[in-house]
Structure formats: C-alpha cells, structure tokens
C-alpha cells in the first residue's frame, strides 16, 4: 500500500526538463523511457545550445534505435512550430535534416524529406527529382516523391509528372502525378481527356474533374453536361458531374438548359442512391 502510494506520488510530480533531457540522450536507458522523455522536452530543446546539439546528435546517429531517432525528430519538429523561439536553432536543424535525408532508414528519410519539402527546400527537391528521373537514386517511392514535390508549384516536377502519367510505375504514382499537375494550366487538355475516358478508374476521373474545375471551370461544365446526358457513364462520375454543376455551374446557363434539366429530373427518380441524391440537389437549385 505504501509502495503504491509512493509510486503514485512519484508519477504525479513532473520531472525537470534537465532530468528528461538526460534520460533522452542516455544510450544506457531503455528505448521506451527515452522516447517518453523526448516527448516531454520539445519546448526545452532550443533553450540551450547543449540540449539542441544533444537532440540533433540523437537524430543523426545511425547507431541509435530508430524509435529514439524518430522521437527526437518529432520533438524538434514540435519545437520548430514556435517560430520565434526556434530562430536560433533553425540553421542547425535544417543542416541536420539535410544530412538525415539520405539516412538508410526509409521511414526517417521519408519524414525528414517531408519536413524539408514543406519548407520548399532546394536540397530536398533536387534529391526527389533525381529519384524520379533515376529510380536507383530514389530516396522514397515515386508516389511519395511526387506528393512532396507538389508542396512547391515552382519546382521542376511538371515534366517528370507527365512522364509518370504516360508510363506510371503504379496506380498511386499516377494519381499523385495527376494531383501535382492539377496546378499546371497546360495540363487542362490531359484532364479533359481523362475525365471523358470511361476506361479510367473513378478516382482518376474525379481527380481530373477537380483539376479541371481549378484550371478551366468552363471546360468542366461542358464536359459534366455531356457526361450527364450519357446514360452509359458510371454513377460515381455522374454524381461528381452533378455536384460540379450544382455548386459551381453557370446558374443562368444551367437554368435555361431544358434538355439537361429534363435528364437530371429522370436521374433523381431512378439510378443509384448517390446519383439520386445529387440529382435532387441539382433540381432543388435549378427547378424543373
């Protein structure tokens, strides 16, 4: 009973940052304890240069258990959210991330490249592009590289993404390449083609519809109308087309389009549940 009470008392009292930090960087402590200690220190990481360097050392050291390295990364990442307080630590942090970006551990590599890519870091972009152009140098899978490159519309990823769409290594990569190209005005014809291709999978066609809405909304409207008038097209994409016209359509033009309204009127009575629901929303906006 007494022991239990002591234990409760002990756990209730938070340990000092110094104590947590000494556990976090001690190789002799169990992994779980170190991970827990690192979770406690984010705000203190940048308080002293010694603590910062110790945490960065843990992240860099390939002999450290990966769980501890990932925890130190998380701790540093959390600290970096306090932009002003982190000012003096940022340069060392970024330098360490660039070193760890080529680490043998794929999870750590991917996370680090993700952080750098969000900073629009030139080093990370260069590595990701190299990997897409030459898979033997790839640090992350192609779909991940494309996703990370899409954080910066000014990266050189459009031409690489187009090549991936033409000759995709896998479906995920094609999907990410299309998402990236959704910011490229010159890709509008590609999206139009994919949207009308009944042999494409529904997700690719929906991505194409969303991209067209961003790039050429008038093209989406005309294509959505054609899709709705084509009874042989799939329910998923017809529901997407209905939503596009209901939410973003040229209200005046759609309201005057009797052929379309008559067709959608029929869809609201027969067809899949999703199509019926979308058709009813369309009709409630544009009337019969």
């Amino acid at each position: 009973m007494t022991t239990k009470r002591k234990a409760t008392k002990k756990s209730a009292k938070p340990r000092s940052t110094r104590a947590a930090m000494s556990v976090a960087i001690s190789k002799s402590k169990p992994v779980k304890e170190r991970v827990a200690a690192l979770a406690e220190v984010p705000l203190a990481v940048c308080e002293s240069d010694k603590d910062l360097q110790a945490t960065l050392n843990v992240l860099r050291d390939q002999d450290e258990p990966i769980e501890v390295r990932l925890a130190s990364l998380q701790s540093l990442q959390a600290a970096s959210f306090s932009v002003i307080a982190f000012e003096s630590c940022r340069a060392d942090y970024i330098a360490t991330l660039r070193k760890v970006a080529t680490d043998p551990n794929p999870e750590l590599r991917q996370r680090v490249l993700g952080i750098l890519a969000r900073e629009k870091d030139g080093f990370a972009q260069k590595k990701l592009l190299e990997g897409l152009q030459n898979p033997t140098k790839a640090l992350v899978p192609p779909e991940k590289a494309l996703q990370l490159l899409s954080y910066d519309i000014h990266s050189e990823a459009y031409s690489v993404a187009r090549k991936v769409v033409e000759n995709p290594p896998n479906e995920d990569a094609k999907r990410e390449a299309l998402r990236l190209l959704a910011a490229d005005a010159k890709s509008a014809p590609l999206f139009e083609k994919l949207l009308r291709d009944k042999n494409e999978n529904a997700e690719i066609r929906q991505i194409s519809a969303a991209a067209l809405q961003a790039l050429k909304p008038e093209k989406l409207q005309s294509n959505a109308r054609d899709i709705l008038l084509d009874d042989s097209d799939y329910d998923d994409i017809r529901a997407t087309s209905l939503t596009a016209l209901t939410q973003f359509g040229d209200a005046e033009a759609v309201a005057k389009d009797e052929t379309l309204k008559k067709h959608v009127g029929k869809m609201s009575e027969k067809g899949g549940a999703k199509v019926k629901r979308s058709a009813r929303q369309f009709m409630s906006k544009y009337g019969r």
Partner: protein, 516 residues
C-alpha cells in the same frame, strides 16, 4: 546571339563550369551580368530552386572581384525583396566586395535581416549547388553590417530595437549585433560625402519612346470578364502599369506590388487624378489567373477597381506583352519561375515613358511620374507647341544669348552709344537705351542655369551644370569690377560649354535608355 544565349539547355554542372570560365576572363564579366536578367533564355523551363542556385552562384562569382556600380542593383534587389536564404546570403557576400561601404547600403541590409531572420538556413559557397553548413544567412548579413561600419549609422535605431527585443536570436549573433551597436553609438560625423544613385528608374523622352503598335490589338480580359484591347484601354491618357501573378510566393513582390497599387489609386483619388490616370495590374500568368482569381487577389489587397482601374489578363497569352515591355520574367511551363519588381508609366499614346525596376518604389514618386505626363499630353494635343528636344534646344540657345547679352550689357546711355559706334551700326543709333533689359537678361540667364541643373540631375551628369554655374558666376562678377571685365568672356565660354554639354548628354542618355 551571345555565347550564353545559345546555351539555354545547359545542365547545372555545365552552367557552373561556364561561370567559372567567364570569371577567369575579366573582359567577359558583362556576360555574367547579362545572366542576372530574369528574361535570359538560360532560365527558361527551369524550376525556381534551380534558378536560386544559378543566380546565387553568379553573385558569389561576381563577389570574387569587386562589384561595380552598375552591378549593384542586382545585389541590392536581392536584399530588398529576396526571401530565399541562399540568394540573400550570396547578395550579402557580394555587397562586401564593393570597393567601399556606403550609407545607401545599410537600409537594404537591415531590411534583409528583418525579412529573413526567421528563415535562417545553412548555406555554402564552397562548390556550385552545395548545401553545406559553412555559414548561415544571418551570419552573412551580420558580416556585411560589420563591414559597413560607420556607414551603418542610419540604421542604428533598427539595430538598437533588435538588441532590446532579440526574440529568438542566438547569443552569439546577439553579441555581434551589440558590438556593432556599441561601435556606432558615439556620435561621429560621417565623412562620406554623398550617397549612390541607383539605376532603378529609367525615363524615355517622347521622341525616343517605343511605339505600342505591335500590341495595340492585344486583347485583355479584366476582373469582371470585360474585354478591351491594349489601344482601347491605354491610349488617351497616361497609365500606371504593374505586373504580378496570384501564385507568387514572395510576399515582398506581387502581393506588396498590388497593395501599393491600391495606395497609388488612393493618392490619385485624393488629388483628383483618378479619372485622368489609368492604373492596371497585368498578370504574368493569364492561363491560371482567371477573372475571378485576379478580382479576389486585388480586392484582398485593397485595390479600387473601376473603368479606368483594372486587373487584366492577356486573353491569348502573355508572350506579346512580355516581348513589348521586355518584362523581367521567365517561366517553367506556363508558371513563372522568377521575376523582378517592375512598374511602367505609359504616356497617352500607350508608350512606355518611364519604369521603376527591381527596388521597391515609392508610390508618390510613381504618381508624380504619371502626372508629369498629363502636361505632356496637353502639349501633344496642342499642334502649335514645340515638343521634346526642340523646345529644350531653343531654351538652351535663348538662355545662352541672354547670358551673352547680360555680360556685355552697357552700364549707361554713353556706353550704349559707344557699343553701337564700335560695331559701326549707326543705323541702330535710334534704339533707345533700356536699363530694364539688364535684369530681364539676368533672369533669363538664371532660368537657363536652372534648366541645365534639371537636365544634369536627370542625366546624372552634373559637369554641365558646374560649367554653366561657373560661367554665370564669372559673368556676374564681371559686372562688379572693371578689373574683372575680361572674365565675362570666360563666363560666356563656360556657359556655352555647359549648355552644349547639357544638350548632348541628354540626347546620349536617351539613346542609352532606348537601347536598354
């Protein structure tokens, strides 16, 4: 076509070798400067990060030798508007290679410090494209502040504010700033005589302006989907034109430009010029920037759209507009990969009369430049008026004759008769002695001097003014003493030289600007 223009498909390694090669040939330094122009073909179809590496390496290479006056604008531009650590660090380093520190530089360095301090990053100049950690952007900026020494006095309040509220600055950097502040605190008179005049504004005289015929029919769509051609909107009255694009990720460029255009519109309204001067913001990225996007972008930044104040996108692409204005922009696919800040003032014929480039411009100065063109429009509309250099040449000649007249003006009626008999023109003996003519000639001489000063200031060649001033002083002194009588002749020669130089330097600058 230069060596570099034919090499726009160079790999980055080849580019680095070429830069090293050019740096070894001092006679080819101008090619390095050419490469700093955003519209250079070498930047076509490259990503923004690649361009940062390329430009940073050029700045670093330039800094190995001394930075020259005409190269400074590229360095200061980066400190003024740059947000990429590598480029700003390269600019800070390059500035230190200028022969001596100038007061003009200090605000740029402090501005860069404020812009970039929360984006500190390791940078390396040991090899092309290197991402090592030999220095950081903040260290480079502080090194430049230290190099400025006494010339940084004007930014002492900003540095003191930084010391009093250091936020997250490291102790090491803070110590360096404190040391700089301490060195500036004892008030010493600066011995620096004058500041630098940056070449961020260009002006074209009416006769040397490029015709806009080639883009008169270019069709624009405004924020409300309304269509207008270049000629319809820009001809008839002066215009202020800025360029931007909504996806620009540098808040110190497009976003700030549009915000400042909003301020310009307010100044025009306050001064009653809103209906007499057009304003337009034209997007570099017309494929993506739909009317809705540009409208939202303008509204969010305080623009006041109206029939004479519009946000525009070129319906058939930006190419013809880009070519006509020689825009400082380049693209990857349809997206801008790099651009400069640029504002153009168009005359009532839609021709570019002046432009402000690279460095942040002052709203009132831009408005003044447009208002000056309103007077010019009146002259153009009046068929009896003489425009441009004819008027100026007439003014100079008249002023010169007035100076001669003043120098030899007789003091009394007897002298007047003596002059006439000396020239043997007895027939003119009927001309009455007119003492009122002397102050009139003196006034015209001073007006001529003023006109030479204005032209000298505009051309940045003050020698003509100094000569004309010396001439005027010599002529006036000759009036006070008989012994100084001979100086009148010297005065006339100096005035003649000053006036002639003023006229020719004005024309020479027009030619330079036209070729630019």
């Amino acid at each position: 076509m230069t060596e570099l223009e034919s090499n726009n498909s160079l790999s980055e390694d080849e580019f680095a070798s070429l830069i090293t090669d050019l740096a070894e040939r001092p006679a080819e330094r101008h090619q390095l400067i050419e490469l700093l122009h955003e519209d250079h073909p070498i930047y076509d179809q490259r990503g923004a990060a690649t361009i940062v590496r390329m430009r940073g390496w050029i700045l670093h290479t330039l800094s190995k030798d001394q930075i020259k006056d005409d190269e400074l604008i590229f360095v200061l531009e980066e400190l003024d508007t740059g947000i990429d650590p590598y480029l700003v660090a390269a600019a800070a380093k390059a500035l230190r290679s200028y022969p001596n520190p100038k007061r003009t530089f200090a605000p740029f360095v402090v501005h860069a410090l404020a812009n970039i301090r929360y984006r500190d990053e390791p940078v390396s100049f040991s090899e092309y494209g290197g991402y090592g950690d030999e220095t950081t952007i903040l260290q480079e900026l502080l090194a430049t502040l230290e190099w400025l020494g006494e010339s940084a006095r004007s930014v002492l309040p900003e540095l003191q504010a930084l010391v009093s509220q250091p936020a997250g600055l490291s102790k090491k950097l803070l110590n360096r700033i404190e040391k700089i502040v301490r060195s500036l605190e004892p008030v010493n008179d600066s011995t620096e005589s004058c500041c630098l005049r940056l070449r961020d504004r260009f002006t074209w005289e009416p006769r040397s302006r490029k015709s806009c015929t080639e883009i008169e029919s270019v069709l624009f769509e405004d924020q409300n989907h309304e269509l207008t051609t270049f000629a319809e909107f820009f001809k008839g009255q002066p215009s202020i034109v800025v360029f931007f694009y909504t996806r620009c990720d540098n808040p110190l460029k497009c976003s700030l430009t549009i915000t400042k255009l909003g301020r310009i519109q307010r100044i025009l309204v306050q001064n009653g010029f809103a209906s007499r001067v057009n304003t337009a913001a034209i997007t570099y990225d017309p494929e993506f920037d739909s009317p809705e996007r540009i409208r939202g972008y303008g509204e969010n930044r305080g623009l006041l759209p109206g029939p004479r104040h519009r946000l525009l996108r070129a319906r058939d692409g930006i190419d013809s507009v880009r070519k006509h204005f020689k825009l400082g922009v380049n693209f990857i696919e349809s997206l801008v990969n790099r651009h400069r800040i640029e504002v153009y003032i168009l005359d009532a014929q839609g021709q570019v009369a002046s432009s402000f480039q690279r460095i942040h411009w002052d709203e009132q100065e831009v408005v003044n430049a447009a208002i000056e063109l309103l007077d010019e429009s009146k002259q153009v509309q009046d068929p009896n008026s003489q425009i441009g250099h004819r008027k100026s040449a007439f003014g100079n000649t008249f002023g010169l004759l007035a100076s001669i007249g003043f120098a030899f003006f007789p003091k009394c009626p007897i002298c007047w008769a003596a002059y006439l008999s000396m020239f043997g023109i007895a027939g003119l003996g009927q001309i009455p002695y007119s003492p009122w003519l002397q102050p009139l000639l003196a006034t015209v001489m001073l007006i001529n001097l003023g006109s030479v000063w204005l032209r000298a200031r505009a051309t940045e060649r003050m020698i003509s003014f100094y000569l004309a001033s010396a001439g005027a002083i010599a002529i006036i002194s000759s009036k006070f003493s008989e012994s100084l009588k001979a100086t009148a002749l010297l005065g006339i020669v100096l005035t003649l030289a000053g006036s002639m130089l003023s006229t020719f330097s004005g024309r020479r600058q027009q030619k330079e600007l036209t070729s630019h």
